[in-house]
Structures are given as C-alpha cells and as structure tokens.
C-alpha cells in the first residue's frame, strides 16, 4: 500500500499519474506533507470562520439588523467562534508550522510517531466534517462556550458541534504527545536542551497544555452531551446540578487553550526576530523558561472568566491575583525580543514586519488583559465589546499575525518558491491597518457599554460599529491579496535558495524544499541555535552542515 519515496528527492515529488499522486499524499507519513495537509484544512477553516465574521460585521452596520433573525445572528457568531477556535487557531501554528518545521529545527528525520501523526490529521478531518455537518443540521447558537443551562435546552445542533470539538481535542492531544516525545528523543547529536531553537521550547510548552488540559474539555463535552441527552442532573439547576461548575470545567481547558494559541506564536517570534535581525536572542534561558512558566500558570487562572458568574468572591480574588502573574513571563518575552533587536542587522522583510506587528498588537492585547484581570474593572467591562477587542488583539493581533509571519518566513522552505515581496508588503499594510480599524474602536464601544453578542444596539453606537465594519473590509481585502500572491508563488514563484534569510537554524541548512529524508546524513550541532557573527567578529565559528 505505502509508496516508498526516495529519501534524497524533494518531499513534494510524487509518482506520476493522478491516483498515485493522491495516494502518496493521503497515506503519507512524512511530517512535512502532513503539515501541508493540515495547512490546507486550516486555511479552509480560516476562510469559513472569516466568512462568518464578515456576516457579523455587515449585520451590525445597522442598529436593528440588516438581514438576519435574532437566532440566525446567534448562530453566526457561535459558528464564527467555534470554527475559528477549534478548527483554526488551536491547530494553526502547532499542526502546520510545527509539523513542518519542528523535526527540521531539531535535525530529526521525522516526528517520533509518524503513523500517529497521520492519524491525528484524519481525526482533525473527522472533527472538521462533524463541525460542517453541524452547520447544516441546525447550527448551534449557544456561543462557542456552550454554557449550560442554555446549551442543554436550545433546539439547535449542540451535540454535533460539541462532538466535533471533542474529536478535534483528540487530534490536539495526540499531536502534543508526538511533539514532546520528538523533542525529548530525536534531537540531533550535540543539541543539548539549551541549544534547541526557541520555537521548539514554545511547542514543548504548548504540548504540555494540549496533553493535560484538553482531556478536561473532552470530559466536559461528554458530560454536556450526557446532560443534554439523558439529563444526568449535574449542570442543570432544575435537576439539582450546578451550572457554574460547567464554567469551571469549560475554562479549566479553555483558558490554557488561549496559551495553546499564543505560545507557538511566541516561539515563531523568537525565530523570525533572530533571523531577520541576524542576532543571538537576548536571554535565551529566560525566553525558554518563560514559555514553561506561562504554560504552568495558565492552569491556575481560569476563574477570571467567571467574575460575574456567581462564583464566590473569595475565588474571584484568588483568580485575579493569579491572573496578574501571567503578565510577568509574557513581559519577559517582549522585553527580550526588543533587546534582541538592539545592535542587530535588521532586514525589514515581510516576516519581520509581521513580527513587529505582533509585538505592537500583543502589547495592546496584553495590557487590556491586565485591565480585565482586575476584579473592580472587569465587573464593568465583562461581556462588553471591550472583551471582544481584547481577545481579538491577542488572538488575531498575536496568533494570526505570527501565523502569517511564520508562513512567510518558512514559505520558501515549504514550497521552494519565493513570493512577491512588494505584494506581501501591501497585504501586510492592509491587514495591520484593517485589523486596528476593526478592533480598536471596539475598545471604545465596550467601555461605553455596548454588550457583546447582542444583535441590536442603541442608535448612538452606530458610527463606531460602522467604522469597525469598514475596517473589517480592509482586513478582508488584505487576506484576499495574500491568498492571490501566495497561490501565484506556489506555482509560478521564483525558485528559492536553500537559505534566503541567511538563518542559522538547521531547517535552512538543507535544500528548499527539503528532501524526504530531511538531511543528507545526520547533522551535528556544536553551538547555540542563533550564533550569528557579531559585528566585527569573524563569521562562521560554529560547525553546521553546509
């Protein structure tokens, strides 16, 4: 059944004929091909979630709605959230960039369990199919958080969507296990723990969360399905259950999940910044350990989503203090990236532009996060557009910026082609501007009292809502431009050299695109990952394979 490709040919090379070609992709065990398969699924999900986002923004042009009923509006924002969170952001960087780049970064031939890796992809696909089935079988309208008791009572398709999230969780757990074992066992000879590129550290921290938090989501969704179908009486107050307990369960996973989203993005930042500034990272160990610290703290703060849920005020206080702790490792990272830039040879290429965009937007997202962690302020801002703006600054301004930056950074490696630098700059400006136009006004809307998830609003909010909608069109245009030039590049782009950015990490020391076997022979590591020649110092003091 399985086709045995030549380890020294490009991984993109397939046997002749359509069916052998298709088979060589669908049964591939090559981590790079699996990364590309995920990439296709994730781009599709992003398009779907983005479509719902556009519908929401257009609907909000007018205070009393434009084209949707109340229920349809609830369904659209729920689907936007569920698709973007479970199908797009959570797997985005780990499953695509991680799968493709991680073994290369470590100098490995593959991930530890290639079959499990392919299985994770098919589980992801099954989850995606379930989610799309759910779309057409009475789309869910509970919000992506599935709060009880509403989710046990509404007539929309709760079960198929929660089942989809449950299945997607399995994919996430298996990927996490695979990555941790890969990082432990398959590093190239000479690559000690403190010579691992920082993206691998970030992936490691992410995998810890994926393995230890996702099972709690799984049990939560199983219990929700049982509560809805059988009426166990655990979350429904009418049956003697505790609906706030559902929120504890849900957020025990879903807050760490925010760090499943942002930690890989932070890892990407470290790679882009060191490469395009041609400089060693400032404070390697601090950056590495702050990833682990964020992963650990992320398990202790979930209650900040529940300040006004009826949770005990004492628990509120504890969660508020613990939440503020996350600011410390996050700030360490930002300071270290900025310090890395000092004295570097900065090339303002597109990946670097996205890295700068990330720092700027993540700062705003992070600082507003501190505001929301404070009990006294959150009570007023909770469930307003301030929250919406905050988490979009973290998730879109952070993760999506990093994902797109990573895509541009590793594009020449993934497809062996260059993209148009000029069009990529145009797209960056549109995305960055469009994002801020869309979401910055939402901070103002929220602080003026516009509640989130409402279909209709007071007339006085219309100018700001309209402004946000126009911004979303600029943002959408940016992504359309990006899609066009990237597709063009994949087929017609200029051939990429092996190492267009003169990076020092191992994935650039092999061909673009890499061979199926990744490296000729096993690379040996004799220095840190970012040993760039300092100004004035002699170049090439580490012995990397050329």
């Amino acid at each position: 059944m399985s086709h045995h490709p030549d380890p020294n040919a490009s991984y993109l090379e397939s046997p002749a004929g359509f069916w052998p070609w298709l088979k060589s992709w669908l049964f591939t065990l090559d981590h790079k091909r699996i990364g590309i398969l995920y990439f296709l699924g994730i781009v599709f999900s992003f398009g779907l979630g983005g479509f719902f986002a556009m519908v929401i923004r257009i609907e909000l042009l007018r205070p009393h709605g434009l084209m949707l009923t109340h229920t349809q509006y609830n369904q659209v924002f729920t689907l936007h959230g569920a698709v973007m969170v479970f199908l797009f952001i959570i797997p985005s960087i780990p499953a695509t960039i991680g799968n493709f780049v991680l073994p290369l970064l470590l100098g490995a031939k593959d991930v530890a369990f290639p079959r499990l890796n392919l299985l994770s992809f098919y589980i992801y696909l099954l989850g995606a199919v379930l989610a799309i089935f759910s779309l057409f079988s009475g789309a869910v309208d509970t919000g992506w958080t599935f709060y009880t008791p509403y989710s046990t009572q509404t007539g929309t398709a709760v079960i198929s969507m929660t089942l989809a999230a449950f299945v997607l969780g399995f994919s996430s757990i298996l990927t996490g296990i695979n990555f941790i074992v890969t990082i432990h066992k398959l590093r190239a000879p000479g690559m000690g723990w403190f010579r691992i590129p920082l993206f691998a550290w970030a992936t490691y921290a992410t995998s810890i969360i994926q393995i230890l938090a996702t099972p709690v989501l799984a049990i939560t969704l199983v219990l929700l399905i049982l509560e809805r179908t059988l009426g166990l009486g655990i979350f429904d107050p009418a049956l003697g259950g505790d609906p706030v307990l559902f929120q504890h369960f849900f957020w025990f996973y879903s807050h760490p999940a925010v760090y499943i989203m942002i930690l890989p993005a932070m890892g990407v930042m470290s790679e882009i910044i060191t490469t395009h500034a041609q400089k060693d990272i400032f404070g390697y160990r601090f950056v590495a350990f702050s990833s682990i610290a964020i992963a650990v703290i992320s398990f202790l703060v979930w209650g900040h989503h529940m300040y006004v849920s009826g949770q005990s005020l004492y628990a509120n206080m504890i969660f508020s203090v613990l939440t503020l702790l996350v600011a410390i490792p996050s700030a360490i990272k930002v300071f270290n990236w900025v310090a890395t830039l000092y004295g570097g040879h900065i090339h303002w290429r597109v990946p670097f532009l996205y890295a700068m965009g990330f720092i700027f937007l993540f700062l705003i997202g992070g600082f507003t996060g501190i505001i929301l962690a404070l009990l006294s302020l959150d009570v007023h801002l909770h469930d307003t557009y301030f929250i919406v703006a905050h988490f979009h600054y973290v998730m879109v301004g952070g993760t999506v910026m990093a994902f797109v930056g990573a895509l541009h950074h590793w594009w020449p490696k993934m497809f062996g082609r260059m993209y148009s630098e000029n069009w990529a700059r145009v797209a960056f400006v549109l995305v960055f501007l469009g994002f801020n136009l869309t979401f910055f006004v939402q901070f103002i809307l929220g602080s003026k009292g516009m509640p989130r998830r409402y279909h209709n609003y007071l007339d006085q909010f219309q100018p700001l809502h309209a402004f946000s909608t126009f911004g979303s069109w600029v943002l959408g245009l940016g992504f359309i431009v990006m899609t066009v030039y990237l597709i063009h590049s994949a087929f017609r782009g200029k051939k990429a050299p092996a190492n267009p950015w003169e990076s020092r990490t191992l994935e650039w020391q092999t061909a673009s695109p890499p061979t199926t076997g990744n490296f000729e022979g096993t690379p040996t590591v004799t220095g840190g990952p970012y040993d760039y020649p300092r100004a004035g110092a002699a170049a090439g003091r580490n012995g990397r394979p050329e």
């Binding site: 695979n178 066992k185 049982l226 166990l232 009486g233 003697g240 369960f249 025990f252």
Partner: protein, 214 residues
Amino acid sequence: MSQVPRKEHHAAHHFDDAVQERDAALLGMWLFIGQELLFFGGLAVLYIVMRLQHPGAFVEGSGHLSWKLGGLNTAFLVVSSMTLGLAIRSAKRDEAGKIVPFLGATFLLALSFLVVKGFEYSEKIHHGLVPGKWFSAIGADPSLHVFFGMYFATTGLHALHVLIGMGLLVWLMLRARRGHFHSGYQTPLDLVNLYWHTVELIWIFLFPALYLVS
C-alpha cells in the same frame, strides 16, 4: 525452545536504535496516561462537588449498590493486572508458549468484569434508577438521580476503557502467536500493561467512591 517462531524486531528508520524507539514509545504512553488522569480527574472534581452539594443522595444511592459485586469486580481487575504482568514476564524469559494463555486469562477476567457490570446495570435499569426521563425510583433524597447520573457516567466511561483494553489484548494475542514478543522485544506488551494498570487504578478509586459511601 518453544514451538512459536521468533520474529526479530527492527527499529523504524527515524530512530537511532531499538532502545531509543522503546524509550520514545514508553514516554509517549506515560504522556497518554497523564491525559487519562486529567480526563478521569474531571470526573473526580465533579464527584467531589456533587457529593458536597448532595451528601444525602450519595449515601442513599450507594446503599442501592452491591459492595459484593463491586468487590468481586475489583478482584477481577487486580488479578487480571497480575496475569498481564506474568505475560510480559514470560516474554522476557522467552517462554513464548505461556504468553498467549496469560493474555487470554487477562482477557477473560476483563470479560467477567463487564459481565458483572452488565448484571448490575440491568438491575439498576429494572429498578428505574437510570437518570433522566427513565428515572422512576422515588428516593428519600430528592436528588438521588444525581448520584446515579454520576454512577452511570463514571462506570460507563470506565467500562468503555475496559472494552478498549480487551481489544488491545486481542491484538497482543494475535501478535504473540506470530512470535513477535520475546526477550528482545516487548514494547507493545509494556504499553498495554501501562494502559491496563491505569484502568485498574481508576477502578480502585471508583469502588470506594461509589460503593462504600456511608
């Protein structure tokens, strides 16, 4: 030597050697056990909160369960864990003829566990103790259904794990018959062993938590 032909194992191409491959597999399994602990840990949190909120229902509900059947099931699982351990011991000692019988004994003990569980379930169904719209029992405590909701959710998910374990045991028996396991290679046996002990571990807590409440 035994009548079973010995089949040598070769490490996959992306590993340096068989030792690295085995270590990787065991590390992966321990990580998987970590996620199992959190999965059932969620049920433990639920149990604690529900028991705090409905103490009377738990005492009354536990009275409806038979500690004899529960204890019998505990014994089944404990002994099955032992026979599985003995299967690995036989593989390590190259006593290939004993591996399948020990695995078979483990399988039968697991099956006995499920049969007893089935009897318990049918009795509960008969007495109208299945939660939701089937619940027809009238207890002294108004939230008796919460206990049985917990009972069916936890033991049901545990039984599902037992069932998966039985599937794995069949797979191991098929491989053992073809001579895959010997002093040079027992990794799949070890992995299933860890999984099976996790299933035992969970039952060890479920038994007093559900059957021995007073």
